[in-house]
Amino acid sequence: MKPLLSQPRFAVFRGFALVVLLTLLVGSSGRAPAPAAAGPQKPVTLAILHFSVIKGTTWSGAHHRAAQRLAQKYPNVKYVYREEVGPDATVPFAKELIDNGANIVVGNAEFMGLPLGTIADQYPNVYFGSVIASDLTQKRNFIRFFPRQYQALYLEGLIAGALTRTGNIGIVSAFPNIQVIRRTAGFYLGVQDAAKALGKRVNVYVKYVGDWYKPTEERDVARTLASQFKVDVITQQTDSGSPLDVAQERRIWFVGKDMDVVGFYGWSNTNTVAVSFDTRWEVLYDRMIRDFLAGNQNPRTMLYLGMKDTMTLADGTVEPAVDIMNNKKVGVDAISPRAKPLISASILKLVNQRRQQMMKGQWDPFFEHAFISNGTGLALKGTPIPAKGSVVKKARQTPSDEFLLGKFNFDLEGMIILK
């Protein structure tokens, strides 16, 4: 006969008692700021105002998926959203969501920054967030955020530069603005590094559509690049699926942006998509949620996160804020199995090496490379386009975030902008 109170049973009982005790303790100290450890119990509602439709766009789609992942990871995080929120509806929808319990309200287009900023003071306990809006006044609970996509774009550039046979790469782009120029610069630096390593000449053509979302025009622009400029690798800085479709039709390589369209949308396959990158907005939202759960009255109001910033998902995967990704695979594995044999081992090695370095925070394409102006770009008030050939930033020098987000207004030397 075993003793009445066997060890295991007793353990269970003891454990139960401890939980009850803890619960009582926590419950009684409810008015005090909750300690970080007790975070998972506190409910948080993340509200995203999508400026566009979710389905069919890479931008809002990526935000949508990010929020769903967070809701998966944190049982206490609830995700609510509104689609196609025009400027006039930003404030009323935000207020309505707050009235229904939203704690973090995020607008995923720049134009929402201003309206959200105006109501930030009215709701001191709510965090507001907007993708970068550089002319905004700082507010305690107003968070500006953006991922360093240029890092992933650099890796894409390496792969694209290695893949091209014709030596022509095309970018279907929206219209010159700082974000587009910055992204394109990252990609272009990668292409040129690959070209140098392989000892070949690669032209990068940029053709602007004039808008973010013009499916018919995007298609015609992509087709012009393919047929007139003989590009055999094409990428886009626009939002519709047309350029991808052209790549598939022309049987040329497509390099994706912002989202893994093969893995998550099934819009294509790895026979067309050589590589893509994924923007993990959840890493940025995760920072906000953690700040909120910590009861931070002063959250980090500037989140400019890159590959070295990570979070752990519900299934245990650790993911950086941006990473190359394709068909749910990351790193060198993200490169399409059909494309991989076409890329020299040295480049594959370089991709892997740079990625590892960036994830450790030891390297950055914008630190490494000089910025030499092409004489083209975007004239801003007070910041004219630097003259062609002028060195704006020397190599091995860190550009400031303010410069990258608000002043980087020129194309890098050697890019071909089609007018």
Partner: protein
């Protein structure tokens, strides 16, 4: 350059198909300003059908069917109920604009099917359009039914007393016009840009309508006009190929529309009208009531 022409032809096919149906319908006296709506609906249902069944043919048939149905509805409003044709047409446009956005939204994205074969580098719809233009010309100008159609649009009561069933002719023509508009939409979503997006036409239906007026109701001139507009469209998107760096790209983008207005104005001048303008069907847009 050849490539630019190829794409112009493919773009013009969309315009030609829709405008050709409208031309026949207008020849019979029924004006359908809701062309854009019929194209949107035809394109959307063609896309959805093709994607769900994996068959282009079924997709095209769906486009034809829904276009025909909407044409028939326009016929009912304008022929049987004798309503204002512009009201009914605008109604169809806005209806289609709204409903296709709703219905198509879950299907946003590429079609994801093996491409339609392109014999000699051009989509089969291009050849189909040219054949239809020739057929329409023969029908309208060389056959008895064509004479009946033209008479119904010129002077319906004269046609009626000649033993023509004007209502039937108009119904047939407006339905046929709807079918072609549906086909045109299907051409867009299955061949020209096989990616569904809301309001994907962005005004091409109205351009088609303008082309009908421009064509002086002659299919061959229609074909020429559509090719010209499509070439202009391609030029406005890729001016660097022909005239690099003259104008802002945004100003270039306005070029096809500005040209349309200019041409519409030219063909409306008294000088032009007294020479060519007699082609306008006399009873166009007017409901016909039997005595």
């Amino acid at each position: 350059m050849l490539e630019l022409l190829t794409r112009s032809f493919e773009a013009s096919t969309i315009l030609v198909l829709a405008a050709l149906g409208e031309l026949i319908s207008q020849r019979a006296g029924v004006l359908n300003v809701g062309l854009e709506g019929l194209m949107l609906f035809g394109g959307t249902l063609a896309f959805i059908t093709a994607q769900s069944t994996g068959s282009y043919i079924l997709g095209v048939l769906a486009g034809l069917a829904v276009g025909g149905f909407l044409g028939l509805a326009h016929g009912f409003f304008s022929i049987t109920l004798r309503g204002d044709q512009v009201v009914s047409g605008m109604g169809l446009w806005i209806l289609s604009f709204g409903l296709t956005t709703y219905i198509g939204s879950p299907y946003t994205g590429p079609l994801g099917m093996e491409r339609i074969q392109t014999p000699f580098g051009l989509s089969p719809f291009v050849y189909l359009a040219v054949i239809l233009v020739a057929a329409a010309w023969l029908l309208v100008f060389r056959t008895g039914p064509g004479l009946a159609i033209r008479s119904s649009g010129e002077n319906p009561s004269a046609a009626e007393v000649s033993g023509i069933n004007v209502a039937a002719i108009r119904y047939l023509c407006v339905t046929f016009g709807g079918m072609l508009a549906g086909l045109s939409g299907a051409t867009y979503t299955l061949s020209y840009n096989p990616v569904w997006n809301y309001n994907f036409l962005g005004g091409w239906g109205f351009t088609s309508l303008a082309l009908v007026f421009f064509s002086m109701w002659n299919p061959w001139i229609l074909l020429a006009g559509a090719s010209m507009f499509a070439a202009m469209w391609q030029l406005s998107l890729s001016p660097e190929l022909v005239l690099p760096g003259i104008l802002s790209r945004y100003i270039w983008r306005t070029l096809p529309f500005v040209t349309t207005i200019v041409i519409l104005s030219i063909i409306s001048t008294p000088w032009f009208r007294t020479r060519w303008g007699l082609a306008r069907p006399e009873a166009l847009g007017r409901p016909y009531a039997k005595e």
